[in-house]
């Protein structure tokens, strides 16, 4: 019998090699207690959280938590059903209404996760003879959406407007075209030149989908994302988003003004063949989204945090993913996986949690320490974080 697991042998060996040095497993961290959006107890130690995507700090908002508890009492713990059968409760309609209002769009469709939103929308709207033209650094859920469908997939170099345009012009006459972009790319925290890319896409007759997972609630005057900030949100056909970042719970969605959008509820398999979100989750999401509409002060404070951390890390001598802070993600580039893992552990011992990102999830096979800031991080916490980076960086020889 051939062992189906032998294909994982290289990865198993690499992992064992890394852990045999006595390193804490970066992919096995348990948060024993969570005190707030910015502090948890990890391995018995009080730890500042700097890698949670909890950008707007809504997870402990008293109104959000109260809405969840109320829904749990009134509607029970789960729906045990698909949205198209017994799984649509008042709360699912309410959260879709909140999204329509938040984005000022005609339609909103909620999925059980953000991953499923990309999987469902992309695989369903692009058919066999259609072309999907996507940025090479797209998130796994976008690639998996492409793999689930059967359209022709054409990648282009990251954020390269000319490369996108060239490919659009080479698509056979008459074929359907979907351009897939992200507002913020989560690995380096850089944003897309959406204004130019959407213009080029429209000029070549393509529909455009933008994943704004990492910008919702934070970027743009009303927190609608990079497309809003760059003034072209009305030209975007589909916006994909998630509840698991700024909204502070779990779930995914697509909003659109397409007149036929509602038909997707019947033909989109990752929407139909799965249970809907629990009532408490949609209640917390709806409350959080409505509060995010009025989050201008928090947005301003988050920008302050992002700018301070970026400037401080740079001053310490770390190499960063972007020259200027473009989002709430600051990526610190490590020379290799071993140093990255050692630095990650040193930071944890200092009392700081960041994400360790490594190939193949990262562009150009980089090892990154990814920091995501929260609007609830105080100015003092950001200074404390910089102190921890300085100590850990010196201890591991990074700076």
């Amino acid at each position: 019998m051939s062992d189906l697991f032998s294909k994982f042998d290289d990865l198993i060996a690499m992992r064992e090699g890394l852990l045999s040095t006595g390193l804490t497993d970066p992919f096995n961290l348990v948060m024993e207690k969570v005190e707030s959006p910015t502090v948890a107890i990890c391995n018995g130690r009080r730890t500042i959280l700097l890698g949670t995507y909890n950008y707007m700090g809504m997870t402990f908002d008293p109104d959000v938590v109260a809405a969840g508890k109320k829904a749990l009492d009134e509607y029970g713990s789960g729906t045990t059903g698909s949205r198209v059968l017994n799984g649509t409760y008042a709360g699912h309609k309410e959260v879709e209404d909140a999204l329509k209002e938040f984005y000022a769009m005609d339609h909103a469709m909620v999925f059980s996760t953000g991953y499923q939103a990309n999987l469902g929308i992309i695989s369903t709207i692009a058919g066999k003879d259609d072309y999907i033209i996507l940025d090479i650094d797209s998130h796994a859920s976008i690639y998996d959406g492409c793999a689930l469908g059967n359209a022709q997939i054409v990648p282009f170099r990251h954020n390269d407007i000319d490369a996108l345009e060239k490919r659009l012009k080479r698509v056979p006459e008459g074929a359907g075209k979907l351009v897939v972009l992200e507002g913020v790319y989560s690995m380096l925290g850089d944003i897309a030149p959406l204004k130019e890319m959407v213009a080029v896409s429209k000029a070549n007759g393509a529909m455009v989908l933008v994943d704004e997972a990492h910008s919702m609630g934070f970027i743009g005057e009303n927190g609608r994302g990079v497309a809003e900030a760059q003034g072209i949100i009305d030209d975007v056909d589909f916006i994909i988003g998630t509840f698991s970042k700024s909204v502070g719970t779990v779930g995914g969605f697509c909003v659109s003004n397409h007149p036929k959008f509602e038909i997707l509820r019947l033909v989109c398999r990752p929407y139909v063949f799965t249970a809907s979100l629990p009532p408490s989750v949609v209640a917390t999401a709806a409350t959080s989204i409505r509060k995010l509409m009025h989050g201008a002060d928090k947005r301003a404070h988050l920008w302050e945090n992002s700018k301070r951390l970026h400037a401080g890390l740079r001053q310490l001598g770390f190499k960063l993913g972007t020259d200027e802070p473009q989002s709430a993600i600051i990526a610190v580039i490590m020379p290799d996986l071993e140093t990255g893992a050692a630095m990650w552990e040193a930071l944890l011992k200092e009392g700081l949690y960041v994400n360790l990102a490594r190939p193949p999830a990262t562009p150009a096979n980089m090892t990154l320490l990814r920091c995501s800031l929260c609007a609830e991080h105080t100015g003092e916490q950001v200074e404390e974080i910089l102190g921890m980076f300085a100590a850990a960086g010196r201890a591991t020889g990074c700076i």
Binding site: C146, Q152, I153, V154, F156, R157, R167, P360
Partner: protein, 82 residues
């Protein structure tokens, strides 16, 4: 030189800058195994082939191409479909 030879010659020229190990190229040379290209190198190379011949090579199509000969045939077919 036949048309096919010309296409192959152009493709060999495009392989050159990416052939860091100086592997000798034949029709049967495999991109992943013999040239040891990672996915990023493959993307850059595919882009250079697309630009040279003004064609689109989708990921679906690229996944079926393993050798230099297969690429030459695919490029010629894509050119004829244009």
């Amino acid at each position: 030189m036949t048309d096919r030879d010309q296409t192959e010659a152009k493709i060999r020229d495009l392989i050159d800058p990416f052939n860091k190990k100086g592997v000798e190229i034949s029709g049967g040379t495999r991109f992943a195994q013999d040239l040891e290209w990672d996915s990023l190198t493959v993307m850059d190379f595919v882009a250079s082939v697309e630009d040279e011949f003004d064609i689109l090579i989708s990921m679906n199509r690229a996944a079926e191409i393993e050798t230099v000969d297969q690429l030459v045939d695919a490029v010629r077919q894509l050119e004829s479909e244009r």
